[in-house]
C-alpha cells in the first residue's frame, strides 16, 4: 500500500465483470447491430445487476442477466447495441447482492496505489476504433 503497509493474503475476489464480445483482438466487420456480451462474478455472492456503458462511461444501461444466477458463479450478461461506426469505448460494471459496485481502475489506484496487484477487479474498458478494431482502452 502507499504507506508501506501490506495486506495479508486473502482469497475473496470482489465483484468483477468484463465484456467478452466485442473484446480486445476482435474486429467489428460493419456498423449495425452487435450484441454486447460478457461475464460477471463475485466472491461475495450472487451478481445482482450488470450495467454496460457504450459512451466511455458517461451513461450506463442495465444489461440482461442469463439465468440461472448462482452464488459465486460466472453470470452471463448481454445488451443489444447498435454501433454507429464511430470510435467508442464500451465497458461493464457488476453489482453483487451485497450492493458492492465494481470500481473503476482510478478508484482502485487511489486507494491501493500502483504497487498493489492482487484482487484487481477494476472495470475493464475496450476501445472500438472507427475501423472496428477492438483494443484495450487503458493502454
Amino acid at each position: 500500500m502507499p504507506d508501506g503497509s501490506a495486506r495479508e493474503f486473502t482469497f475473496y475476489m470482489e465483484a468483477k465483470s468484463i465484456v467478452t464480445r466485442p473484446s480486445g483482438g476482435q474486429k467489428l466487420n460493419a456498423p449495425g447491430f452487435h450484441e454486447i456480451s460478457g461475464i460477471a462474478w463475485s466472491g461475495r455472492g450472487k451478481v445482482r445487476r450488470v450495467d454496460v456503458s457504450v459512451d466511455d462511461g458517461k451513461s450506463w444501461q442495465q444489461a440482461q442477466l442469463q439465468e440461472p444466477v448462482l452464488t459465486r458463479a460466472l453470470t452471463r450478461f448481454r445488451l443489444p447495441w447498435h454501433w454507429d461506426g464511430q470510435s467508442a469505448v464500451i465497458q461493464s460494471r457488476a453489482i453483487d447482492e451485497t450492493g458492492y459496485v465494481q470500481p473503476t481502475l482510478a478508484e482502485l489506484l487511489a486507494v491501493r496505489g500502483e504497487n498493489y496487484f492482487y484482487h484487481n477487479n477494476a472495470i475493464w474498458p475496450w476501445r472500438i476504433a472507427a475501423d472496428g478494431e477492438v483494443t484495450n482502452a487503458n493502454a
Binding site: P2, G4, A6, F9, W60, Y100, V101, V111
Partner: protein
C-alpha cells in the same frame, strides 16, 4: 506472495491425503489409506510462529558455503538478485513508488524463510537440502540482511526468536475499500 500460495497448495495436498485415509473403504474400490510416513513427508508446513520447525541447526558461516554452491547462481553472490529474486536490502523502500521487497525489507516472519527454502529451493532440486543446511542458509540470508551476527547459529528456538523488521506492517483485509457510486447518467 508466492510463499503463501505454495503453502495453500501444500495444505490442500495434505487435506487430500487425510481424506484418502478417512475413506479406506472407498465405494470406487481405488486407492489405499496414506501411511503416517507418507503423510509426514508432506506435512512440512511451518506457520508464522514457527511451530513444527524440525530439529537441527546451522551456522551463518556454513550457510555462506551452502549459499555460494546452491543459491548464488540465481540470487547473486550477496543475495542482490539475478535470475532469482533479490533477497537483501530494500529497507525503507516499501512506502516509495518503487518498493524493493526482500526477505529483509518485506517478509514478516523468519520462520517462512525456513519453510520456503526447505520446500522449494534450490529450484532445480527442491527439498534436496538437509535440515541443517536449511537452517544454515536461513541464517546466512538473515545475516546478509543485518538481522543476525556473523558468528550466529540458528535452530528452531533461535529462528523463532528472530524479529523481522516489517512484521508490524501487515494489515488484515480492509475491503470493501472503494465505493463506486454507480452513476447511471451524466457521469
Amino acid at each position: 506472495m508466492r510463499t503463501r500460495e505454495l503453502h495453500i497448495a501444500m495444505l490442500a495436498a495434505v487435506a487430500l491425503a487425510c481424506a484418502t485415509s478417512a475413506q479406506a473403504q472407498s465405494p470406487y474400490g481405488i486407492g489405499r489409506p496414506a501411511t503416517p510416513a507418507e503423510i509426514a513427508g508432506w506435512n512440512i508446513d511451518i506457520d508464522r510462529e514457527g511451530h513444527n520447525l524440525p530439529p537441527g541447526s546451522g551456522t551463518v558461516s556454513h550457510g555462506h558455503e551452502v549459499f555460494d554452491q546452491q543459491c548464488a547462481a540465481c540470487h547473486g553472490a550477496k543475495g542482490e538478485g539475478g535470475v532469482g529474486d533479490r533477497l537483501v536490502g530494500g529497507q525503507a523502500t516499501l512506502a516509495t513508488p518503487n518498493p524493493i521487497r526482500t526477505v529483509g525489507s518485506y517478509w514478516p516472519n523468519a520462520s517462512t524463510l525456513f519453510d520456503y527454502i526447505r520446500r522449494a529451493m534450490p529450484q532445480n532440486a527442491p527439498q534436496s537440502l538437509s535440515n541443517d543446511d536449511v537452517y544454515a542458509v536461513s541464517a546466512y540470508v538473515l545475516n546478509l540482511n543485518g538481522l543476525l551476527p556473523a558468528d550466529a547459529a540458528l535452530d528452531a528456538s533461535t529462528l523463532r526468536a528472530v524479529k523481522m523488521p516489517n512484521r508490524g506492517m501487515f494489515v488484515g483485509d480492509t475491503r470493501p475499500d472503494v465505493k463506486n457510486p454507480a452513476c447511471m447518467t451524466g457521469c
